[in-house]
């Protein structure tokens, strides 16, 4: 058996949806960090190694962290045994990896054995869809970024474009806010009953103005936050986003914030941009192609927004000719939206950490 410096072997398999990780640590090294040689005869038997199984797996789990955009992943024991590398016997443990919300692990943090041996190295082999990645982790460099290493730029762009669309459509607060914003443009008569009829062309211009103002505003803050130029507290941003929806809805009837909807869209758009940025920063933590990710995500948000408006606006506009829509449906919608938004605000406020 060879003498060599201490290495821990880590095999991470992310080729399939069921991610697995295997960790091999030398019995010789484990003897330094868990009680292995119970009878103190300077020998480790198979029985002694088996007896220490719980200690060894606990040691591995505290020193090896996998995380994804959604948080830390959980390791669930799958196989236990021994194996051999060039310098002798190793304990080997295989785990399934469960990351929150079905995400894929994007970061591996390794700090096994560094506390006793500064020349110990974590040798990482990662099998991914795009091929194999090898790395050697040391006390000074103990974290490995797992995604994006070999991903082509267009792939990153496409991934984040899709994430942008998905986030806009599934992130109901942005959808509701947009809905409230476009409501005035769907009314043939102003809700307040003032002024005369306006043409479709004027309505479309009004709509374009509102959507553009919202887009420009949230793009500004998204970029500022994504590039770490401004970092507002995200918990408060989420509360303000909820309140903005309620305010916009109430403003339809009690125009406390003025009748210029585009100004409202711009002002609150700035806040919504920070909301998008917090999602993006979580998603992009595993990629080195931040600018590409940002561009893709932002364009995705705009595409999602335009699609939504293109689908919803004609529908509402057609209904706008009916008195019922104007007299009952719009106030009802505004009321429901305000109620939901206020509920969110309260919920998010309650969720704030104690001051």
């Amino acid at each position: 058996m060879a003498h060599k410096a201490s290495d821990g072997f880590v095999y991470l398999d992310q080729r399939e949806a069921d991610q697995t990780i295997r960790v091999d640590l030398a019995v010789r090294d484990l003897a330094l960090v868990v009680a292995l040689d119970h009878n103190r005869d300077q020998q480790v038997t198979g029985a002694e190694l088996n007896q220490a199984r719980a200690d060894i797996t606990r040691y591995i789990e505290q020193g090896l962290t996998l995380s994804s955009s959604a948080g830390n992943c959980r390791l669930s024991g799958d196989q236990w045994g021994m194996t051999r590398h060039s310098d002798g016997p190793y304990a080997s443990a295989r785990y399934g990896i469960d990351c929150p919300e079905g995400t894929v692990a994007s970061t591996l943090h390794y700090q096994l054995l560094f506390e006793v041996d500064s020349l110990h190295r974590g040798l990482i082999q990662r099998m991914g869809a795009e091929g194999e990645q090898l790395a050697s982790l040391s006390p000074d460099s103990n974290t490995l970024s797992l995604s994006g290493a070999a991903m082509p730029l267009w792939q990153t762009f496409a991934d984040f474009l899709w994430q942008g669309v998905v986030h806009l459509v599934l992130g109901f607060d942005h959808v509701l806010f947009l809905l409230v914003l476009i409501l005035p443009a769907t009314l043939r008569h102003d809700a307040t009953g003032a002024a005369g009829r306006t043409t479709l062309k004027q309505r479309l211009w009004q709509l374009a103005g509102i959507v553009s103002a919202f887009t420009v505003a949230h793009s500004i803050t998204l970029v500022l936050a994504a590039l770490n130029i401004v970092q507002p507290p995200i918990a408060w941003i989420e509360i303000i986003i909820a309140l903005s929806i309620a305010l916009a809805a109430l403003n339809l009837f009690f125009p406390v914030l003025g009748r210029k909807t585009w100004k409202l869209a711009f002002g609150f758009g700035l806040i919504h941009g920070f909301g998008f940025a917090s999602v993006l920063s979580d998603l992009a933590s595993g990629t080195s192609q931040k600018v590409t990710a940002l561009a893709g995500f932002n364009i995705g948000v705009e595409l999602g927004q335009l699609t939504l408006v293109a689908l919803v606006f004609p529908l509402l506009y057609l209904m706008g000719s009916h008195r019922v829509y104007q007299r009952a449906a719009v106030p009802a919608m505004a009321l429901v939206v305000s109620a939901i938004a206020l509920y969110w605000a309260a919920e998010r406020f309650a969720g704030l950490p104690a001051m």
């Binding site: 060879a2 003498h3 330094l32 040689d37 045994g81 051999r84 590398h85 020349l119 040391s138």
Partner: protein
């Protein structure tokens, strides 16, 4: 005997003890190196070895003495820390096990630079030498030498420095260090220091004769460490000159200290080069855990057409593969030798031999780069090495075509 064949500079120094004579146990060689940087390698590696059930009754390993490892953080005084670190370095030398270097490095983490005593500085230099961080080692030695400290420590620092400079082929610096040593510690070790530098710079005959005469005279009263040192140096110079008594010199040196991994490897190499593979096998039997001895053994097996070669080749390939993954090409010389003489891959052998020659220029390193550059057809590299040899008037029987 400074080093002949593989003298990674870590090999010899008389220990962190108070006197040079106390250094016998510390004089082992065979060390290892390893600087690992974060690196993402590019080529593909074999599938992981299978996970097997653990046999309950079987003894999996014999543990070395690890009692020193725990508690590095509890050392209160620099002396406690130095004792612990010295014990690690000693264990690394005598066993050839580099894990002890990692424990030593860990122990140093507890001691900020400002708190390093001269003794700790010297131990750190020794550690860095073993890790092939030669410049760091030199910087620490300079500190010990240039500041007021224990004269015995300074003497040791000069000796380590002389060795380091000789191994790196910086003979002018080595000569200065040997001279400094002379004024502090006259004797066979100092005489060996001068003899080796002389031998490497065109005066091998004179160096051999003088050291030989002095050794004979000192035989009766010199300590065992000093005699072993001188015998090793004589064997080294005899090999350089292809003297007929080289074999007897190696045998004497090994007999004086059979645990000296460095002498063992140098003698095994001599046997291989003189077509005595059977004896080389005997000499390397049971030392397969040490990389350079394992590589020499594989060459001997190949010379004998022995079927056991296949299994050893597989194990060596696994070791080197793991080392490459680690990112430190530690034993570049061993790997180059293996690639050249066992795997018949001159291109790859040349790459590693060339890298190795950038930091280590013992005759064995030089012989290897000359052979590899011839095999891989690299006339430019060959010319660079030849010019370097010419400027130093270095002649060696292992590269006769470069004799002036």
């Amino acid at each position: 005997m400074m080093c002949s064949s593989k003298c990674t500079t870590d090999d010899r120094y008389p220990g962190g003890g108070v006197t040079i004579a106390a250094g016998l146990a510390l004089r082992g060689r065979a060390l290892l190196p390893l600087i690992a940087l974060l690196g993402v390698a590019t080529h593909s590696y074999a599938a992981p070895p299978p996970i097997e059930p653990i046999p309950q009754a079987q003894v999996l390993i014999e543990l070395p003495d690890l009692s020193n490892v725990q508690g590095a953080a509890t050392d209160k005084t620099p002396e406690q820390a130095a004792n612990r670190i010295q014990a690690f370095l000693q264990q690394a030398r005598t066993s050839g096990d580099p894990r002890f270097l990692g424990y030593a490095q860990r122990a140093f983490n507890e001691w900020p630079d400002a708190r390093l005593t001269p003794r700790l500085l010297m131990l750190r230099a020794s550690l860095n030498q073993s890790l092939h961080k030669f410049d760091d080692a030199r910087a620490d030695l300079d500190k010990v030498i240039s500041h007021p400290s224990d004269p015995a420590l300074k003497t040791q620092a000069w000796l380590i420095l002389a060795n380091l400079e000789t191994v790196q082929g910086r003979y002018d610096h080595a000569r200065v260090a040997c001279t400094e040593l002379e004024s502090r510690y006259a004797g066979l070790i100092t005489a060996s220091c001068h003899a080796l530098v002389k031998a490497r710079t065109g005066r091998a005959e004179e160096a051999y004769n003088r050291l030989n005469a002095m050794t004979r005279v000192s035989q009766s009263h010199a300590d065992r460490t000093s005699i072993a040192w001188a015998q090793g140096t004589l064997a080294d110079i005899a090999t350089q000159q292809a003297r007929p008594d080289a074999q007897i010199r190696w045998q004497k040196a090994l007999a004086l200290d059979p645990d000296d991994l460095y002498i063992r490897a140098a003698y095994a190499d001599w046997l291989i080069q003189h077509q005595q593979p059977d004896d080389a096998l005997k000499l390397t039997e049971g030392y397969e855990q040490v990389d350079n001895l394992a590589v020499l053994r594989s060459i001997a097996l190949k010379q004998l057409d022995d079927p056991k070669l296949a299994a050893l080749k597989t194990r060596l390939n696994q070791r080197f593969e793991e080392a490459r993954w680690r990112g430190n090409l530690l034993h570049k010389r061993d790997l180059a030798r293996f690639l050249l003489d066992v795997e018949n891959d001159p291109e790859a052998a040349f790459t590693y031999a060339w890298q190795n020659w950038q930091t280590q220029r013992e005759p064995a390193d030089t012989a290897l780069i000359l052979r590899a550059s011839a095999a891989a057809d690299k006339p430019d590299a060959r010319q660079t090495v030849t010019r370097w040899l010419e400027a130093r008037h270095q002649q060696d029987a292992r590269y006769p075509e470069n004799l002036l």
